[in-house]
Symmetry: C2
Subunit: 199 residues, 2 copies
């Protein structure tokens, strides 16, 4: 019943994460009925970003600059490098404000069945960076606590064994505010084996 | 911390209904990281739709054609005309499959404080259509059951009093599947005053 251009817009909106047929329809009609200037702004923003955003030469974060803001920032600690899976993880860590070092974004995790190996994750680039920058003294592996994330962390640990580095993995256990009663067994096992002496 | 083009994309995505800062971020990174072809398709779809979709000459539904599909459809009943507030309402009625007549979309509701009067709602166009098409014998007013929707319905009833038409308002009451216990008093009042004899 809808005209072809509107149907195509609804279909195209469904590629957005978390957008089903009903929300896509609402979005399309909202843009066409009430938000044409906003829609034009979105078209332009999307076009520019898709054409110009690439990855940072040093850390592989998404950016339209050759080197991203975080890598350019001279006030950050060159001694620690944190390895994460995705740009979203960098944003989450930055928003927590708990880390002032440098990042390296894998843009994925080891997944041989999908053809994602060390090459695709930029590990040769990471290793040579660790070798060439003696200022880096600690490598923090912050891949996800999933099977692939753990496998990636393990691979990274082995690949950096020859380098004069402290290698650490972020802590796993009961999340803050979490109650033991509702935490799964696997997490409890990690929480218990990762226990620390109380001073 | 994000580069200007990415930040602008995130801001632009927030004009979509139901999209807050967190979802906008997730959408932007998803498009840039994993869905560039889909993103380009969205850019094109949005651009074409925004530039070419206008309103149907006859019923004011959104369409890029001069006359929309529903108005062109010769198999529909010319005897009944249903007046709704927005294109979304046409879609909802069409999806229910309960109405086979023609539509007229007000693209709003009477709201003098916002400068929306009969002119903006296309009421002169509607009245002359009702006058010029004697085939239309019933006018169904399906504006929303809100204060403005009711006021619009009332205005429409008065404005069409001189025409040889059956004018009806869609039924209000307890929604199907609804339980009396959870229905508000205003709805119950309408349900009671709109009671019908059981044959």
């Amino acid at each position: 019943m809808l005209s072809p251009l509107i149907s195509e817009l609804i279909d195209a909106l469904r590629i957005l994460p978390g957008v089903g047929p009903k929300s896509a329809q609402r979005m399309a009609l909202h843009l066409l009925e009430r938000q044409r200037p906003g829609g034009l702004r979105l078209t332009k923003a999307l076009e520019s970003a898709l054409h110009r955003v690439e990855h940072c030469r040093d850390c592989r974060m998404l950016t339209e600059q050759a080197v991203c803001r975080l890598c350019q920032d001279g006030s950050r600690d060159d001694g620690a490098l944190c390895v994460v899976e995705s740009p979203m993880d960098v944003i989450a860590l930055e928003q927590s404000g708990c880390f002032r070092g440098r990042y390296f974004v894998l843009l994925g995790r080891l997944s041989p069945l999908d053809g994602i190996g060390p090459q695709e994750l930029g590990l040769p680039q990471l290793i040579s960076r660790l070798r060439d920058q003696p200022s880096i003294t600690e490598l923090i592996i912050a891949t996800n606590a999933t099977v692939e994330g753990e496998a990636t962390a393990h691979y990274l640990r082995e690949a950096t064994r020859a380098l004069p580095l402290t290698v650490s993995r972020i802590g796993h256990g009961v999340p803050m505010g979490g109650e033991l009663e509702f935490v799964d067994g696997n997490t409890l096992t990690h929480a218990l084996s990762g226990r620390r002496p109380v001073p």
